[in-house]
Point group: C2
Chain length 304, copies 2
Amino acid sequence: MNFKLEQEKRVSEIEEILRRYMPKEEGYYKTVTEAMNYSMMAGGKRIRPMLMLETFRLFGGRDNDILHPFMAAIEMIHTYSLVHDDLPAMDNDEFRRGRKTTHIAFGEAMAILAGDGLLTLAFETVARAYEHVNKSLDDSLTVYERIMKSYKILAMKAGINGMIGGQVIDIESEGKSINKDMLDTMYKLKTGGLIEASMMIGAILAGATAKEVDAIENIAGDIGLAFQIRDDILDVISSDKILGKPIHSDEKNFKSTYVTIMDIEQAKYEVEKVTDRARKAYESLPYENEYLEALIIELINRKK
Amino acid sequence: MNFKLEQEKRVSEIEEILRRYMPKEEGYYKTVTEAMNYSMMAGGKRIRPMLMLETFRLFGGRDNDILHPFMAAIEMIHTYSLVHDDLPAMDNDEFRRGRKTTHIAFGEAMAILAGDGLLTLAFETVARAYEHVNKSLDDSLTVYERIMKSYKILAMKAGINGMIGGQVIDIESEGKSINKDMLDTMYKLKTGGLIEASMMIGAILAGATAKEVDAIENIAGDIGLAFQIRDDILDVISSDKILGKPIHSDEKNFKSTYVTIMDIEQAKYEVEKVTDRARKAYESLPYENEYLEALIIELINRKK
């Protein structure tokens, strides 16, 4: 398998799907749709919908009409969180992925509304998934339940007990030194939340058992944690140009990270430890997906 | 019927329901839950959940376990929109209902996150409604479909084709003079959006037909429009003390309103015209709910 080639293929497949669910730029409130599309189509690795798709495949999932709205929704939620995170009152970032952030390009009010619009559109998009259920089939009740469960997980993992909870810890711990336990909680929520949602929803929609979904939740949480520790390391050892955003931004914002509470070698060891735990749990599942494995390894060892 | 008494009874019933769905103030991200509860429990007339409840009753609805999460959700969405609307980059309001706005009390970052948290919690709350469906009953598929339809309407009417669309027009028309058609579109979306969602969901969950739900959508849209024109009138003729927020705020913010594009008597006539249209449509429905009728009249003729 040529990983890079397979990855590029999937990224363009995913972007094709995303475009299908994004709003047309027209009418009285055209500006907000422009701001939403600007932020959604700013590139990026499309990690969350990709993990959802590949976990769905891991469990032998087939019905893409129901999966696709959820893939679009998870990317909308991820994007809204970036738009709001970049606001002056939050991280105050002017560039992301080498482009102006949404509030710089469209103004602060429009960035707030575009974020709200993406979050709401995410839930509207998945609410439409039920329209694809074939009611003449005997298992339509089961399919409805999978959709509703996925819907619930999407909202839970994006909310105060998930991503938003992590953002709150992040904001409140600025300028303070926090311990490893709190840092882990923050990462598990802030980054892990949506990764857990992605992989769990992929599994649920493919018909995985409750026990399998639990295993996937743990694996995804560890991927999120390892990914975030790697982010801390890259913020120190990479360069602006490779990363597409300013390095040393954590230091600038007086944030506690893995490389402020321990040295870089120890942080790298932590990545390995968490990765090993996830790998073991993954290997105990009786399924295989070569690309998913390669993707996870890439996420954890990435250079940018 | 003693309307005031009946109204007070319902407000406390609704606040009891809301409290059941609000987050506990605990843990690492306690602050955001405090900010969410602060804004949700700031009083207010609870118009949207009340309209939902009474429309549900109008159509003979019975299963409150499914209705209640939707009642809580619509109030959460309304509240989040106020929290974000009050932000410095938006309307920049420091007081609402006689209390400090959320960003004044908790800071701007926490107000953004509390708003995001309320919006997400709204969808999480309704996603849990399906857990109350009795699967042993023959009509469980029908009930699932009502929930999903309601879910979709909630997201649609709160999103860019509903409330957010209206807010975008509002922001963009500041300092410009806009015509009546655009003003009507703005009001139908910004205020009408959630009122339509409230009444439509009440009807759907009670088992109303598609035609009845359409009729309710039109009635609700007119109520929203009349309510908003009334708001424009009150902004000019009321006082800070009665209104609980600064009067003449539209003038201060250079906004086009019904009383800037026409005189007050004409604006009052517009309220009557829209109200009459709604009344006729309402009277053509073969159901009755005395309290709902009184509530609608009160909303349109209110003094604050």
